[in-house]
Amino acid sequence: MKDYIKYYAGVDIGSVSIKAALVSNRRLIATKLVASGASYKDAAQKVLYSVLVQAGLDAERLSGIVVTGLGSESAPFPARQISDISCQAMGCHYLFPSARTVINIGGQFTKVAKITPQGRVVDFLMSEKCAAGSGRFLQVIARILHVTLENIGPLSLQSREPVEFSTNCAVFAESETVSRIAEGARAEDILAGVHRAMAIKVAMLVKGVKMEPDVVLMGGGGEDAGLVLAIGEALGTRILVPEQPRVSTAYGAACLAELDLAL
């Protein structure tokens, strides 16, 4: 009986991490995430292999693979390429059928899409070639503050007096952070300030696609509770976050492999 079940994989080759998701009938069976490292090819092969091992499957049991993400052209296995915006939309749709606006904050870019009730993209915007609109901004500040990435969110939530940044540029914010530390500002207030500055940028993008609820936040940004709160406040709406925000695009890719839609 088991042999009649079909399996599909989605591999999201991003600049910071590479993710894989294995699905069957849109049900998430296994996921894997590794740092992108120097070789996208090796890492992509590794995550795909890992989800197969977790499910106890041979590669031949896969009925389809979709690759997505900035590095999708370097996929070392035959697969269909679909843009990450379409994948995040479909992933979001199956995770939250009520979603109409999806935000994805990744290591390099932030992407926002307006989607139909069927999970199709109607309009989308990407942040500019600028670190301030992406997870990179937080990484830079966290490094200066000696805060691990996992602790950014919880710490930021403790802030009582968020620092106001006078710039929207990650490079200038870095030097501003150093000045604020010298002035005695607390790490949680600096982080909350960074979250607010980022939230304003993200909100501009979301308004650009004419936001409609429900709004879902995916990507690494979704793991940062401080950022989720700041974006919710900036947009004046509730933000839904999937259980594994970083693999949601890979999950969407796997769903698209299964749907085999004409894109």
Binding site: L70, R80, I82, T116, D123, F124, M126, K129, A262
Partner: protein, 435 residues
Amino acid sequence: MEQKEQTKTTAVKGTDMARKVRGLVKNIYRSAHEAKAQGKKVAYMMVSSQYDEIIRAMDVVPIPTENYAGLCAAKREMDRFLLKAEADGYSQVLCSYARIGLGFDSLRKELGGIPEGAPDGGMPTPDMMLGSSAVCDPRYKWFQAAGRYLDVPTYSIDVVWPPVDADLKAVRDHYIQYQKEQFQGLISFMEQQTGKKLNKERLWETIRLSDEAWRLWYEIDRMRVAIPSPMPAQDHFSVMVAGYYYPGMQEAVDFYQSLYDEVKYKVENKIGVIPDEKYRILYGGGLPPWHTLWIFNYFESFGAVFAIERQYRAYDPVEVPSSVKDPVEFLAWRSFLRATQFYEKARANSGNPTVERLLGMIDRYAIDGVVFHACRSCRATTIGQVHYKNILGRYTDIPMMQLVSDMVDLRDYSEAQWKAQIGAFIETLAGRSAR
């Protein structure tokens, strides 16, 4: 969606005539060098300043400095000029065309001659510089700044048009009179510089040739409503050389006549730019990405053709009243009519002349999606794009996308980001046709 590998930097053209434009471009700079050698006057100038016919009638050979910047970018030879201008203190947010031009002039002064390997032999030292306020402020200030490197006289004219809500009947005569005075000032300056009087008959002749070239060009674009598309936007960005850099010359008329014949043949024989045209795209505005023109072919690899564009050929032919008997007054009238030709429509509908033009194109050319190009350092063609997109959204639900880089400065371009955006845009188009 399959992706194909891209290694080129220039675009593959759709028409034979577009492939011949390179010769016209080379000839601009060759003629200027030859003119210099023969003791003729040459002038730096700004395109679309409504004064081209005067320059030709005065027998002055024009050097379009903006075109030279675009040429440097297409040859990926812009960096040393950009960096030189920046080293001289010009900000990175100043128009990159101006930075290339100023960097070139600075380097030429420093080296005592044309920088080695400058595309198409470089620009010779002009005898005068003719700026204008048409389109943007850098075009007025650039040549004044170039005075730092060049000891030649500069004359800049004002090119004006009324706001869209003006009572055109009430303001028309004033605008035309003012424009005429601006042209007359320019003519006096040029007469002084050349030691020759303007020959009005000769001016009428250049106007006639120029209008004929632009009429043919307009007719060509009208034929581009055909499906499949006979000529893509990347060809337009080549063939505009004849209309913008050869107005008043027989060459432009001959060029567009041949292009007209070619496009007509393609339409009649249903020869499209690509074999399987799935989507027709409107290039909604912004200067083209001269550094990466192959991007148009990248769209084509997904079946998307840029059927028409709003950038360049900024106006359709206009009818100047036959009672106008003076050629300078004719130019002033033509400038006013060109600038205001979409005002009436705008007032009756969206309130915005650019949006009216875009809506007309979306309808006539059966457009499936709109792509804008925001150029970081060209405020003139970039400001307004998001606004146009928002207003257009009230009248149409076709997908629209804005790509961001610069017309020449590669430092503002991210290939990975563009490919990601284009991929998603194509999928959005596909999703619509599947719905």
